[in-house]
Symmetry: D4
Subunit: 213 residues, 8 copies
């Protein structure tokens, strides 16, 4: 089975009890799949941890994972700049892993410090798909996209104030990136970027195959 | 050399003479690469055809290609609905080919005729990356994204009037798609989608490798 | 008397006491009509239940009904996709019933699962008017509108985040639907759609009359 | 066959030759249907008139009709205020007729002259569906919707300047109408309103049936 | 002294103590003027009532007045439709009175009940300036402006939801009113409309002077 | 008869022949009124001048006037800054005159030269109503409104580029003016401001009456 | 060392403990620099005051400063109108000082009182860079920019309601200022303006050098 | 005299004859100043060249200069990326020179080629003020602002399509730049940036003074 897709519970607007129950049902119906829950409130995280002791709960990305992801194939590099973007980067990273890709998480790589970006160039180049998470002016996507030719999914975040309009400034910047090969998902949608990137990475040829071609 | 990237001339806002000259220079500097020119006016298309008899000029997608693309690897399926979206689909298809992927062009597949969409399901499934081109309400991306698990790049087009706001309605719909694994490029940006999809397709493992894993 | 219109209290921004009192007055003045209250907070729902034991209170659609609706004529099918859109669908369904139409409520019919949509095609076809409730990218309206020729009122919901802009993405998608015969009401306006659809359904010829023509 | 739907050619962005050819094909394939072409440029209108002498070309609504509409059933009243809104009203009226409903066209009924609106109240009341066409502030929809209980489809037009934003002011006003039972189509979309209204009118019970119920 | 302008404290974002103190200072400095405070929270209203027993506090319009307005001259009619618009109408009415005009307050006059509007036509006609307060689609301004030739200041309110965008729909409708002689102030700005209307009314010639000319 | 209202032809979107004809009809029906035509193209201006030799055509404000305005009463001061705003100021001035008020036209009074504004303070103070015309950032309305207590109607113009968004920047600035007593009309709507201001000015008490009160 | 740049902690979205810790680390690593923290909640201010007794905490501008700013060079004048804009003005002033410029703080200078603006003209003229802070219609930037030829950075604030759209009205006004030499920063971004102005002021030639050239 | 300000004619919306005449008048009145004309159409450029043989006309920046600029003081570096942004960069450069600063023009420095940006770092550092011109996603401002501590004025250009919204994407990106010390002018406003930067540069201390401090 190729896609590696997991079952998912979108936690926003659901009660902790509903989430616990949905996780249980999905886990029982798909014992061979991982089940992922996203956008969990603190209460929901506690309820899930209590009800499902084997669940891996991440308070930063606000996710919970039940069951075993598929054998990982390919690598997704998740890149972000500031501490404020960390939750979205974590959601993307966990999702990519649960959907079957290895993840190389690269934080603290901002536009205002170009040498740090350049210092990770080889890691970027080694990935099969990039997820670039950035708020405010979202320039990180263009800078990374200008450095390497790896497929790049940009995630604008709602970090910012005033004329950032809840992430719209970053979204528009990413849609208008002068670096080709940049595609974009919804504001704060680490989940969507993670699914997309894992699908790309999983179908990438393993390194040795690549080298031959 | 893996990326397969071509040299590109963005024709908008350039005179026919400038475009002809730029093509010549790039072609001479990169004799082993294909050179692609996009957004060509009718005048520019004629000038290019006259100056570069070996160029392949496409009046629908408004492109010209000089030189030989790399050996094609992987398949990009470009899907669109109506005749109005054809130019953007053609730009995406030509770009994907010039950037080194085979292209399966599937037009006339609209949301209002679901059986046609379902009739091409196997072709969609066989592709390594999908480019879905749609204007107006852009629902085609969600419908296709709900059918198959292939990475999908959606291109909103400026086709429509009134509250389509030059493609914004389709752009927003695609960014909010309930089908996971959908990413989006700028309005009418067939070029960007083509580059992105070709990069994904080229690094996809060939079929027999896939089947083994 | 043909229209079947009920008396209505719009509960938003009113105190529980004001709502209880308005219901009482309208009920006394129009003993032969049903009286509908919408957008009731939990407190208002409790106050209405306590003060009017015969009222039918729906915590999902946040409505209360006092008195007897007219004899039902014609059928409105209310269609929605996810659990998040349920409150708006319930408001539409209750309103349509109180305004005198039978209601066929069809939930859990999403764009990402086309077979479910196709499975209810006959029920859609049998209705005199459709109300399609959808958030995020609102594609469900186009998909349903492409399947059947029944008049269709689309209700965008505020379900979504980021570039859904509180329902604007779905609203624009519905206004630009490529399926003709789709009309639209305000975001989350299940009430308005219910009134409109009931009026259409009530004036529809009964089935046997239809068959003759 | 109940729906009465005609075949349609959307003329915007098509050459006169393409439109003439599409009309011919559709007319031959559906000899028993009417074929409607909309959004015809002056050149397209002339080409259609020359190639299809039996076509009825309307320079105001910019439409052409080939073949015979179905037997008309039910009545659509199309209401508009100023001369500037006339083209959209004409598109709606022609469409409703071609889709099988009788049309009562009521122009020159503006908000600034309430007595004229009130003077046509009986004609409004006698219709099975209303199409209200208005630009600028779009208040006509609310005024008509407050007078009668007939289902009402509002068409905002792009007539206006400055803060009308190409019809957005009228669109928003209509979506927020305080008169219930008002639904809305895209800016200048007389076609969509005509299809919708004809579908409602055709399924309305004939007067004598109505009176009995 | 002609203008009749009062001293004003804008209460939003000020503590009760600051407001009490500002009122005291202005009252002492301008013993011959009225002093008006607007946008008072419940706490601020209580604090003002306690500290200034002679103040007239209006919990509906959220205002307080200290001192005596000038001799009233001319009449401002303040017109509104629903209960939700009452606070803004009350702010306008109090402000107009404090700035020296008599006020005729006409509530419960909505677009959906045209006979009520027509029933107050003489009162509208007798005023020297009209303030029309309306939310949602704001059509009341056009309807009233179409009835009488009195200068009309429209106040859009933030009443509504979804595509009312916090009053923007009403604002745009009023700016685009097809009735000439309509001017507009900011959303919910009853204060500004009251000042403007009072200035117009105060400089209007008394009735007998008018009749002679 | 008090209002002084003229008959009006809105020239935008009408052919020269239609305008000539409408002027003729209105002039014949209302021989005792002035008839005003606005938004006239150069062709329309020439056609009107040829057909109605007694018409006063103004190429700056793009207006034509036929017949005699009423005896002028009260004064409207029309204030503008730059040469680009002159057409809108001229439209306002002509309209105010045709609707029966004297006009004091004050141009070349910009925010960047405060001494010029202050130099005309007495003329501003002597008017019964002010019309302030400004594009770009529209600050002139606030500056004039801060100087005098006369009722002020602000007209934003579409003069500007980039983030002026066709007059939106000036419109918003005027709606948010910190000077109370400022009301606003649509972008470039010199006509509406002229009607409004003339109505205010005509009902103003003559100077000697004012002084007595 | 010329730039005078301080180390900065952006407090929004960080816990008091995180802020205290970041301040400590930066202070230890850069003992010769000042460290500035902005956007501090009341809790964060208390925590900083308790943990760093030598810190200067400003509850108005919501800042804290640890360590000694560089020797001050050049002068920044920070100008604002109302009490509501004071927090942003204070943030700008503190930032400019910490980044090494002297600050002349001029509050209570509004557009509605031009004489107050003119009264401070010499202080404005004496500065090396101006920061003008204004909400609502933001006209103060144009008025000040029209008076003096000093480089001017405008800061729109989110003060206002309705059509101020959280500072957008002021932002647009400032971007469209007819006074040349006005540049703009993000809404409420006193910090950014302070950094910019300090950099300009620090590199300005001292007065005696200026006079010689 | 310190400011170095030139006289300016804004050519947009003026006839060639008007521009020629305005230049003549300003040149005669201010024989000791330079006179600058901007936004000149091709016709205006030819007319100016014919009428004022000593004028320096720049067809790229669409400017003309008459008379001698002041002795240049300080340096403005004007930085841009693509050929499409060249006209705005040229307008900024000419303006800065005419307003009295030396200009270092650095083109072809894009985000997608970081090494080129880094290669000019010393020239950036040597300037007294930077003008960064960029369209599309406007990331260049953040990249340059992250490299050096020189005051930076960013100019968004209208270069782009689709979701660039005529320069809005770049404008928002620049307003939200994570690099402090970035201020912004209106879209395509090379003139305003040039004035601002020249004012900053002219008042900068000469190099030797700087070194001492
Ligand atoms: N963070 C997220 N953002 C957007 N969509 C999500 C997210 N997490 C889950 N989903 C989607 O939500 C679906 C489950 O929604 P539900 O049926 O409401 O639990 C999944 O199949 C995903 O497509
Ligand atoms: N005026 C119109 N506005 C919007 N949609 C239209 C209009 N006229 C026709 N259509 C739609 O366009 C479709 C035909 O498009 P096409 O195949 O491009 O000619 C029809 O089925 C209609 O749904
Ligand atoms: N409700 C209101 N809306 C808008 N502006 C107001 C309002 N109330 C008072 N103002 C204005 O606020 C000013 C006083 O502001 P302040 O000095 O902050 O109290 C007055 O002069 C009025 O112009
Ligand atoms: N390219 C430009 N963009 C914006 N404002 C400009 C431009 N060129 C000149 N200006 C301004 O226009 C004023 C002259 O306008 P005018 O009197 O209409 O020629 C000058 O003082 C400048 O402030
Ligand atoms: Mg960032
Ligand atoms: Mg489409
Ligand atoms: Mg949905
Ligand atoms: Mg209208
Ligand atoms: Mg209302
Ligand atoms: Mg102006
Ligand atoms: Mg202010
Ligand atoms: Mg660029």
């Amino acid at each position: 089975e190729r896609t590696g897709d997991a079952e998912v519970v979108y936690g926003a607007g659901k009660t902790p009890a509903q989430i616990v129950e949905l996780l249980r049902t999905l886990h029982e119906t798909h014992p061979d799949h991982a089940v992922l829950a996203t956008r969990l409130s603190e209460e929901a995280q506690e309820a899930v941890a209590a009800a499902h002791p084997s669940a891996v709960v991440d308070p930063v990305g606000r996710t919970a994972v039940l069951g075993t992801p598929p054998v990982l194939r390919g690598t997704v590099a998740v890149v972000s700049a500031g501490t404020s973007d960390t939750p979205v980067a974590a959601e993307a990273a966990t999702t990519a892993r649960v959907f079957g890709a290895e993840v190389d998480l690269i934080t603290d790589v901002g536009v205002a410090g170009l040498h740090r970006v350049m210092g990770v160039r080889e890691r970027l180049d080694a990935a099969d798909c990039l997820v670039v998470v950035a708020g405010m002016e979202g320039a990180l996507a263009s800078v990374v996209g200008g450095l390497v030719g790896v497929p790049l999914v940009a995630v604008p975040t709602s970090v910012g104030y005033g004329a950032s309009f809840g992430g719209v400034a970053a979204l528009l910047a990413m849609l208008n990136s002068c670096a080709p090969g940049v595609s974009v998902v919804n504001i704060d949608n680490g989940f969507g970027a993670g699914v997309f990137a894992a699908r790309v990475a999983r179908r990438a040829a393993p390194r040795e195959v690549k080298e031959q071609s």
